[in-house]
Symmetry: C2
Amino acid sequence: MRRHLHLLYSFLCFSVAAALWPKPQSLHQSVGFVRLADSFDLAFTADKGQQAAARDLEPAISRARRHLAADGLQRLTVDRGESQRDAVEAASVLCRLDLRLNSTEPYTTLASQLGRPYEHMDESYTLEVPDSGNSDDPLPLAAKLSANTSLGLVRGLDTFAQLVYALPQLGAASESTRYIPHVPLRIVDRPAFPHRAFMLDTSRNFYPVSDILRTLDTMASVKLNVFHWHIVDSQSWPLDLPTFPDLAQLGSYSRDEVYRLEAVKQVVDHAASLGIAVLLEIDMPGHTAAVAAAYPNFVACLDARPWSTYAAEPPAGQLRLGDPDILAFSQRVLADAAKMSSSSLMSTGGDEVNERCYLDDPYTAAAMAARNATLDELLADFVSGLHSSVRANGKTPVVWEEAVLNHDLALGKDAVVTVWINSSNVRAVADKGYRIVHAASDFFYLDCGAGAWLGNMPNGTSWCDPFKSWQKSYSFDPYLDLDVEQRHLVLGGEALVWSEQASPENLDSISWPRAAAAAEVFWTGGAVAPGERSIGEALARLHDWRYRAVCRGVRATALQPHWCALRPGSCDLE
Amino acid sequence: MRRHLHLLYSFLCFSVAAALWPKPQSLHQSVGFVRLADSFDLAFTADKGQQAAARDLEPAISRARRHLAADGLQRLTVDRGESQRDAVEAASVLCRLDLRLNSTEPYTTLASQLGRPYEHMDESYTLEVPDSGNSDDPLPLAAKLSANTSLGLVRGLDTFAQLVYALPQLGAASESTRYIPHVPLRIVDRPAFPHRAFMLDTSRNFYPVSDILRTLDTMASVKLNVFHWHIVDSQSWPLDLPTFPDLAQLGSYSRDEVYRLEAVKQVVDHAASLGIAVLLEIDMPGHTAAVAAAYPNFVACLDARPWSTYAAEPPAGQLRLGDPDILAFSQRVLADAAKMSSSSLMSTGGDEVNERCYLDDPYTAAAMAARNATLDELLADFVSGLHSSVRANGKTPVVWEEAVLNHDLALGKDAVVTVWINSSNVRAVADKGYRIVHAASDFFYLDCGAGAWLGNMPNGTSWCDPFKSWQKSYSFDPYLDLDVEQRHLVLGGEALVWSEQASPENLDSISWPRAAAAAEVFWTGGAVAPGERSIGEALARLHDWRYRAVCRGVRATALQPHWCALRPGSCDLE
């Protein structure tokens, strides 16, 4: 009897639910099926004045068409949906997905929407899939996707593609019937947090643009909306800037390992079509040794040994403080970069500033003496100058947590602080009144747990051991340690890949499906009380997402033996 | 001064050495260069009666040609070899690599050599690359590779391909000059241990043959010589057996996830051409729940809950003991599998046999009562029967350590015991006088450290945490805890990928470059005293190997930032 109860429970919990990732805020579903017509298509019905929207949405619609044509995912059950064949074959035929924009205002492009402050960003959408037509209505059966913005329609398209499964046709295994279970269904959805990012470090190892484009596609499929591009660091400067071409020319790994203007534009444009903003980070004044290849006089303690005295990682080197020329250079770098990026945010970094590097640097030391200033006062001036440039270029500055926790810099109240060292630091940032992005290494650093990368530590482990499992990321509470009245400070969070031990070769498998856990936490987060998220319920949906990602050419790592994926709950510890 | 000494040291230690992996037993090298002629080719000079050898070596020679044409690896230095351009361009031109077999005996094919007992396997070779011709000698300059066996020539070809670098031609970046530094050089090489394996579990998740073929190619490039194929397990039975077609038909994940006779033959033949033996494992009597799909009556405690009482992993299910029909079936399964495989060894598994499963099983319990036998006595009969079948089919049986450590089975003295649970168990196996293969989870399990895969352990870690870094594997002492007179028992070792959290998507990046560490330990092992292996010296060579593997389409994970790879020693902790 116990076993039967268990099976019944499995059935109720897992088999009936649509396997959507992230979970929509509101989902009403049933037990019916519709088949997609061979001629099924998606169509944006442009009202008067919406031709611009139609053009802007074309890439997203084409992408959804490709997914519907190519995904070919069968149900993740032991029989792969075979027992539902009769019901599927007898089901009504769905001919269209109609997209509608509920707005009479002049159209704002996706790119422009992504550049708005978060409080003006609207990603909500409503999706309805009927199970049969109205008998009085001679029109072919259509699903409906509506939203206030094209951004909302893009999100809804990604949801719709996740609803569709394939059933191989009998006697023609290469052909499949596409169908949607759980109809009629109605989804009313919007994100809990406006900032849901994936961060990639492209300095320590370089990634060709094709890897970034594929990563953006995968991000969109879990409704991540910000590509936080940690594009330069001490190891290499791959960003080609119009004003300072020598930075990339001399500071990149090679002339083939450079992001030129047109490449960045390709990334930004592709991201926009997916509803993703590109947030560039120029990490300063630390993490800038690569600047020295072109501007050796701008960098303190360059290559100083032992490096561990002067930097968190080799090579040592930081932009000198207290020098107006170096500040002006840094501001122009930010201005160049700001023009390339699409997010309303821009990061000036600010992590791991090494004190010894500056104290041993005659130029910075002289500046301190001349102004009778402390190091933090010089740093405050420098960061304040950087942020002026960011704001002058229409962006809001973002910094890593040390700026306000270690150096107690008084940033403008618009500034956004990213907590990375430990989630226990969130409260201190909130107490200072800053807006917060969660990026805590103890939950969201996807590169942890791969052993030491330094060359002489045979038994070394990574500094942020252990490996962050998807379950760990998924268990995160976005309101951790915060008072209710501080919750409005949380903008969202990110999953991060630092590239000391990552490269194009393992980008997909280190990132996916784990980054999807953060995507769901920050899409659904506000509505879910801590501890209410169920790993067991989530696992079945995450399998579904992962197998679909594999269908799309993403090398997302298996979560479990395939045997477990087909039998939700059977591989729980009991 | 300290800094200069450091640089000098780096230069001496790293820059002069040929970057070979694994390190040859004997290497004499110098500071010269030779360029490869555009028409450079490899040629096996067949003496009378060696036509069969020429045919057998053709795939290996073609593969070496492909590598020479396509690798395109530049030196891993900051200038990528540019400072050596003049020397390279002025160097003598190498026209050929001549392969010679030092044997007048009738030719034995690679496949047959791989099926020999290890004491009769000869992988030694000698490779000489001159820097200039003899002025009296009008012949074009040729390198020489000679060996007693074609297996030795295959090993030498892989070494030769690692010697060659590319230098882009000025004004024609798509064209490269291929050259060999460190000439004249002479390598005399042979492995320390005859068993150097890579193990892959293809039951928990399935791998298409193409993934296995690519893995074999990569294995060959580090001179691993045994593909330990853990082909079936409780989760699925992908092996199609002539005598029992229903095992795969009903026990595989799908009809597309089956290794049919011709697929196994393709793997075995490709492996043979690379000098790799295929060692099949049919893990019995545990890990056999998948047999029940076709033969439900053969399996005790099938799907019993809670599974953790009855098995190490879901689903529970073990072949029943004490039943002559089940033994006969198991023997025929082994006989079928033996005919497919090429190694002189064959594994019958024997790990994680669950006592409770049998004690609760009425059939096994009845057999115990009828014979007045203990469970270990029934197990001894069963394993003895399995090993008779293995021996009758010309193979030597291999078991996991529990057979002799937990159940104290008296195996024939020919049996090989694989130590997996912990390296501290090696001594106990040696004390029983069995030959040993090292596969200890604390050094060689490449799947450790990726979090819990069970569905309900949010903070769970893998049972064999932490992640096994390449440094950890590399620090292994093959003679750990053994007396000098026990050393002859060590056959070698393996790197292992269990597939609970592995799949085609991360196969390359979870396996490489880490499995290369085991490859070098067991190639060089006997000659290197414990603690004498230098992580620092090895790292530069392992980078070289990894970048070359990436050139060959292997998604091998980066070991460090590219900045470090170009500056040996600079990313050591100091």
